[in-house]
């Protein structure tokens, strides 16, 4: 199945949770915020929310800025 992650179409295995994929990307769960189909996820949802075909994920974090 395909999920749009940060604007890029990404092939994802079935039964993958948000947490699985963040770990696969080597991202720190404490410093990345996830928007799934326009809704901000709570961190406790990462482990339970399954990625679905066509889902749009935005992975956002703080960077340097003025």
């Amino acid at each position: 199945m395909n999920v749009i992650i940060n604007g890029e179409k990404t092939e994802i295995a079935p039964e993958t949770t948000v947490e699985d994929h963040l770990k696969h990307l080597d991202l720190n769960l404490d410093t990345v915020v996830v928007e799934a189909d326009g809704l901000i996820l709570k961190q406790e949802e990462y482990a339970t929310l399954m990625l679905k075909d066509g889902m749009v994920l935005e992975l956002i974090r703080f960077i340097g800025g003025g």
């Binding site: 992650i5 940060n6 604007g7 890029e8 990307l25 080597d26 991202l27 720190n28 404490d30 410093t31 990345v32 915020v33 928007e35 901000i40 709570k42 935005e58 992975l59 956002i60 974090r61 703080f62 960077i63 340097g64 800025g65 003025g66």
Partner: protein, 256 residues
């Protein structure tokens, strides 16, 4: 001591974290600045560089985070960024920035006011970045802004306090702290803002792009402190006519 929304700050220099050549230079410059509050932005994670994480570089015990909504072109986008910032563990303080025109990066007053009203209702501590418009400053205060942040000059221009006369009016009417933000390009600009009674200044580009950002951060820290001290000490009146500093009496011997 400076107090914003019940939180006190010893340093009146706030520093931005953008445009530094490396994380190490940024960290050293922030240390040298003595700043207790630093701004950060929100962006998509660069999936090609997952380890590039400012939260691993900055000590949250030492620096209070002021997330900005840079990149927002209207109130709705600013509110989306604000909620993402809060969800990212950035707390509920916000430098509200709404800049529809990428060429000038000037803030949209109407969208900024609208977003301030909404975000205050949603329990954010809102510090809006604004043009140096005294009436808008009053309107933003009425809407519940915890400080106002008038620009000295457009973002990143280093041109200094071009808006000085407007900022003076804003300060004279302010019921919340006034933080001069954007365009301050030299320590003398920061000192001038503080001398006229600004409560704090926010500096990023001038420090980050300096030949020696650490030295420049120290220079801004000194200038900010010097300007504040001068303001508290009370500047002498300006006048049109010359007024001798040395006594005019006791010169009779020159005629003898």
């Amino acid at each position: 001591m400076l107090e914003i929304a019940g939180r006190t700050f010893r340093s009146r220099l706030f520093t931005g974290t953008g445009k530094f050549s490396s994380s190490q230079v940024m960290r050293d410059a922030l240390d040298a600045s003595g700043s207790e509050m630093v701004t950060v932005a929100l962006r998509r994670v660069d999936l090609n560089d997952p380890g590039d994480d400012i939260m691993q570089v900055l000590d949250r015990q030492k620096f209070f985070f002021l997330p900005n909504t840079s990149g927002a072109r209207n109130a709705d986008e600013a509110m989306r960024l604000a909620r993402l910032a809060r969800a990212s563990g950035g707390g509920n303080w916000l430098k509200l920035e709404v800049t529809p025109d990428p060429r000038t990066l000037l803030p949209d007053p109407i969208e900024t006011l609208k977003a301030t009203e909404e975000l205050v209702k949603d329990n954010f501590i809102v510090l809006p970045y604004m043009n140096a418009d005294p009436i808008l400053a009053l309107r933003l205060q009425d809407a519940g802004a915890s400080a106002v942040m008038p620009l000295g000059a457009p973002i990143g221009t280093n041109r200094g306090l071009l808006t000085i006369h407007q900022v003076e009016i804003i300060i004279s009417q302010a019921r919340v702290p006034v933080v001069v933000d954007a365009g301050l390009g030299a320590p003398s600009h920061a000192a001038l803002a503080m001398e006229i009674g600004a409560d704090a200044v926010l500096v990023n580009t001038a420090i980050a792009v300096a030949g020696d950002p650490i030295g420049m951060a120290q220079a801004f820290a000194k200038a900010t402190e010097a300007g504040r001290q001068a303001y508290e000490a009370g500047l002498g009146q300006q006048g049109d006519a010359a007024s001798a500093s040395s006594p005019e009496q006791g010169l009779g011997f020159l005629d003898s």
